[in-house]
Symmetry: C2
Subunit: 259 residues, 2 copies
DNA sequence: CGCGGCGGTTAATCTGTGTTATTCACGCGC
DNA sequence: GCGCGTGAATAACACAGATTAACCGCCGCG
């Protein structure tokens, strides 16, 4: 087991999706079983750095991330690259993607990755039979858009320090909500070069900025493991308002129990 | 009629939505009639600079822009403001917005604006009865997301000149596809200050950059009217690839005729 | 009629971040 | 064991774009 696959903690598995959707709405046993079934139907694995889907491809499947990290990215013709989103376990790509004739961006694996491929038919059966899942999936999609908007704000308004701090906050909270982080600690398999492509900074400056966060006693980051030492202070520094992640489920915040 | 309302050309009206959706799919007479009906049900107008909906509000309606320009924006706590999207006639805000408990951003009118408010029920009736409209609306939503991603790329990778050029290209093409631009000419009611908030540049630098575009003979911009003098060159400068707007309707590109 | 505010323009100065380059540590394949 | 590629860490220097400030024209308003 190399350093890449070790970035995907146990306990993730098919549950990451279920776990995340339950942040929004209660799911019945039947709902959860249906999710597990659909997700188990057809799996694929990709190696780190491999493309999961490429700009120009005709989209035919919905992918659900089960394990590992990936990213959406776009190249400009002259080679510049922008990462526009990170995929974490439990995330899934645009529900309606097959409406479009071709992908306008690529999806690349950052670590070794396992995905579930869901065909159009299975997907339609799932949402026809399980209204709560449907609702939860739409919520997931809206959060994805909200995140994209927040990235626009991040790149447009925040300076380097705030920018990286904000990204760390977001990823930490998202991992936490998928059950993949505790006590300020999580896997973090993103290289400084990837961070540069995601934040629109040079990798040299990403390095400088990470040093600063370390020296401020805000984070520890080494060996693809991140520890946030003072989340509150990091949030304040980043002007991070978790609102846009819409994680607030009415009343039932903590009970991931059976219905 | 003041200079604000003059920015919304005639011929827009309820048709802007229909016109745009037909870029993607053929709509039958019945489809189009249904669209007109829903859009005529309940209208509201807003003055320039007025907020159409505010961060924190509970979303209950879907808005369709009929006339005028608006924008989505977010404030950071310390007052910095980022415009994350422009709304043009024919655009509509997130279809599923009522799934969320509160808005995570605001929508503000840039000019005087007319919108159609569509309630949940009317909307559900519309999509139940008109599968082609449903498909076209999803397509519209996917394009909105794709635009948001492209803005991320724009802010992350392009320098000031490319950035503004890119935004001008996007807005021109979108207006054109809504039937609101011809021969390189369109209304452009966005102040330099708004442009600054949208591109993440200072307004001084926006001014300098617009000068440069003018001196290069690429655009004419005055009195809230934009003329693009050399679209091809502007696109090349901006590294603009219209792919992400997904405007390609199979075969039938130009026939807006009856079915 | 004069005043104030907004949008646009220009200039001088400062700074955050990019660029280029070098070095080090580590793991991998041969 | 050696060479190589990749990720990380620093340093010196350059520059795109921010900041601040002043000024103009226009329009609406008292």
């Amino acid at each position: 087991m190399d350093h890449l696959s070790s970035n995907a903690p146990k306990g993730a598995g098919a549950n990451a999706l279920t776990c995340k959707l339950q942040q929004f709405t209660r799911l019945s046993l039947a709902d959860r079983a249906a999710l597990e079934r659909v997700v188990a139907e057809r799996r694929r694995t990709f190696l780190g750095r491999e493309d999961i889907s490429r700009e120009g491809d005709k989209p035919t499947k919905i992918y659900v991330m089960l394990n590992g990290w990936a990213c959406r990215y776009k190249f400009l013709e002259d080679g510049r690259r922008q990462i526009v989103a990170f995929f974490l376990p439990g995330d899934l790509c645009d529900l309606n993607i097959f409406i479009l004739r071709q992908m306008d961006h690529s999806i690349g694996a950052l670590t070794d990755v396992t995905v579930a491929e869901i065909g159009r038919d299975s997907f339609e059966r799932l949402i026809d039979d399980h209204p709560r899942i449907t609702q939860a999936l739409w919520w997931e999609a809206l959060v994805t858009i909200a995140i994209q908007r927040e990235w626009t704000v991040n790149l447009g308004q925040r300076d380097a320090l705030e920018r990286i701090a904000h990204l760390l906050c977001e990823l930490y909270v998202r991992l936490w909500s998928a059950g993949l982080a505790t006590d300020g600690h999580c896997a973090f398999p993103v290289t400084q070069s990837d961070l540069a492509d995601a934040t629109g900074l040079s990798k040299v400056h990403v390095n400088r900025t990470l040093q600063e966060l370390r020296q401020e006693g805000l984070i520890r980051l080494a060996n693809r493991q991140l520890t946030i030492l003072d989340l509150d202070r990091l949030k304040r520094l980043a002007v991070f308002d978790p609102n846009y992640l819409h994680l607030d489920r009415e009343g039932a915040h903590l009970d991931a129990n059976n219905e």
